[in-house]
Amino acid sequence: MPAAPPPPRKPNFAWSLLRNSWRQLTSMRTALVLLFLLAVAAIPGSVLPQRAVSPEKVTAYYTQHPDLAPKLEQIGGFAVYASPWFAAIYLLLFTSLVGCVVPRLRDHFRALRTVPPDAPKRLERLPQHAVVEERADDPAEAAQAAASELRKRRFRTRVREQGDGSWTVSAEKGYLKETGNLFFHFALLTVLVGVGFGHWYGWHGNRILVEGNDQGFCNSVTQYDESSLGPRVDAADLPFFCLRLTDFQAAYQTTGQPKSFDADVEVQTKQDGPWKARHFTVNNPLRLSQANVHLLGHGYAVELRYTDRFGAQQTKVVPFLPTDGLFTSSGVGSFPDVNIDPKTNKRDVNLQVGFEGVFVPTVDPAGGATSVFPAENNPALFLTAYRGDLGVEVGNPGSVYSLDQGQIANGELKKVSGDRPQRLTPGQSWTLDDGTKVEFLATRPFATLAVRYDPTATLVLAGAVVGLLGLMLSLGGHRRRLWFRISPRDGSGSLMEAGGLPRTDYPGFAEEFGQIVGAARGPDGGTP
């Protein structure tokens, strides 16, 4: 709670409303309510599919719940953590936090500069109290002895001589608790700001990279399968680098469980610069100066060569996406620019060719187009051929992983193979009904890469670490005050009285108080 501001001279409705609202917002109760709201608001994001995490699941949700999905979309159900209501909660929470910790910072600075206050009149009223009846030395010496004992224990100590010949020693310790508390809360603000800037100035892209020098890519938006730039990043801002996959190794247990993935790449970081070999694995990303390349997954790309009715050949390397953990993979090979009559040089859209395929690295000996092992022990490709209009001219953003099902449905694209898909092993070819030929040349591995640049990741990490240290200080520390009053006794020597006040919940205080009083009593004693 911040200290209450001085009351305004004239009551002003708007001002008092504002002031009361601010007080309400920065109160601990409001903060608790907002914390709860934040926790509750986070739940839908784990129940509903999130577009930023798994867009394909959002699409699936749309097909399963066609009525509900658009309504959920409207209220941000598929982007909970970017929704205005989620932002409203955490922004209010952080406003409340600022309103709470800024006055506390001021108070703490003040507290750090003030000396411990003088002893209260009646020490016996404090939670801890002890009397040492008899000391041989005079009050001034006794006070210095007690003070040095307290200083040894890192108390902030002040010795005062009172008018009546008695001395008091005031001591306070545990400022680090509040220091830690403030560090923790300011670190949270740092993390929030860091995450925000990282979102604004960061970018990322995903890309399937097939092995081979002919399959490399360069860092630009158009070359990513999917990319997203922060609001303050322009496509032209992306740094230059090119990557090509020279080798990809996957090792498996005999059960088919993966053991390790290793990618060898060559990187070019300057236009026309040299290509440098680099190696990276699942947990060790390729760290470039302006981006990190992470290995997320892998699969097989199929190399198909099609020979059309005029004898022209085209070769395509098509990544097939894994559909299960044993790498049964599916994909398509589209050949829109084939069967062009060399005499007229005109393309007949009705003679375009497409293949739907399932690739299996190890065929089930019992039959069936599913894989029984993720490595290529007995690879086979199952192809279905289509001829007709692939629908690629219409300008609809078709997937590169499936044929246009609309074209098949409306008869523009006709199946020209038999009921069962044609099975091919690497090197085999298949002649279609019109005499054209497709060859399954080979497979190549591909790696699924995530390329990401986050300028504030280090800042966020630093914030989190400072926050944790602050948290530990704040939870482990105890603020407490101690006082000694030493009065002269009749004759010689002095009488010492001690009192202690824990300013926070501190169960071990009685013990510490006892130790300090015992130590301050000194080796020569004095009767308790």
Binding site: R29, F36, A42, L461, L468
Partner: protein, 326 residues
């Protein structure tokens, strides 16, 4: 070795069950703990004040005479219970170690192994608390109950045969991230026991006598339970912060390319963190009642359970290798 681990697991659950039954026997037949009795006295006097009869020597005799015999029996049962508790802990440790040897790695690769180790930490923390504060022995019934339920659920729902780690888990961050979360979860687990019993005891002290509150008659003093609850949570919270919000994101950055991506597991870790943070704030706020604060701690543990069982079984995400049977 894997077979041995499975057999040890069964014996472990039985031993915890035996400890639980013996704790329950002490609870039912034995006398109240010292603190329990001390706290009971004012209530009894209050009842007595309705009938203005001065306490006579007879009353005192009736109260005190059977006590030594009953207490001896109770103490004996309690000591046997603690013995079984230690035995169960040793077997539990054996289960985890043999599992690790069988898999040739840290036994934290899936949900079964994770829960097995969390409960081991919980058991260790409970025995540590018990050794330092023997007067808390009456909590043993509830600590053992929690362990038996979690281990039973683990064996029934989450059991998975020994297997190697998927490549994504093949990192030293695996040990750092998972071990701190296991430690924190184990302490939160044992923290939830005094939290629940504090609520029961607080209700009992207010005069409630219906079922859950009737258990409060014999548990330790409310303030003691409340303080223990706080200390366990205050210890576990930074560990959880480190494991879930620092080590986890560092590893996620290296492995998945982003330090935070709202994966279901991350969402629920975030929720647990927020709820436990609320508990610590509520407890530090004088205007919030301690019972309210403690309810928040219970809620925090519920979110941890949700993250362990609910997220693994119902949602799929990047942490799916922790799945049951996976």
């Amino acid at each position: 070795m894997a077979e041995l681990s499975n057999q040890l697991m069964a014996v472990t659950v039985l031993s915890y069950l035996a400890a639980m039954v013996l704790y329950a026997a002490e609870y039912a037949f034995g006398n109240k703990s010292h603190i329990g009795r001390a706290a009971q006295r004012p209530a009894r006097q209050l009842v007595g004040s309705g009938a203005p009869v001065p306490p006579s020597a007879d009353d005192v005799e009736v109260e005190e005479a059977p006590a030594p015999a009953v207490r001896d029996r109770g103490v004996l049962l309690g000591r046997i219970a603690v013995g079984f508790n230690w035995l169960a802990f040793a077997l539990h440790l054996g289960t985890v170690v043999t599992r690790g040897i069988a898999a040739d790695r840290m036994p934290w690769g899936n949900m079964y192994e994770f829960t097995l180790t969390v409960t081991l930490v919980g058991s260790a923390v409970w025995l540590g608390v018990l050794t330092r504060k023997p007067e808390l022995r009456h909590l043993g019934l509830f600590a053992a109950l929690a362990l038996v339920m979690l281990l039973g659920a683990d064996g029934l729902i989450a059991y998975a045969p020994v297997g190697p780690l998927v490549p994504a888990l093949n990192s030293y961050w695996f040990i750092i991230h998972v071990s701190t979360i296991i430690l924190a979860s184990g302490i939160f687990l044992i923290g939830a026991v005094p939290a629940a019993m504090f609520l029961v005891r607080a209700g009992y002290d207010e005069g409630k006598r219906r079922f859950p509150y009737s258990l409060g008659a014999k548990v330790p003093e409310a303030a003691l339970l409340e303080r223990l609850t706080f200390r366990l949570h205050a210890f576990a919270f930074p560990l959880f912060t480190f494991g879930a919000l620092i080590a986890g994101p560092i590893w996620a950055e290296a492995s998945w390319g982003r330090y935070w991506g709202w994966d279901p597991k991350e969402v629920w870790a975030f929720i647990s963190w927020i709820v436990y943070a609320s508990y610590l704030h509520a407890r530090a706020t004088p205007s919030v009642k301690r019972t309210v604060a403690t309810w928040i701690a219970i809620l925090g543990f519920a979110t941890m359970l949700m993250n362990l069982f609910g997220v693994n079984l119902f949602f799929s995400g990047l942490h799916s290798y922790a799945n049951a049977g996976g």
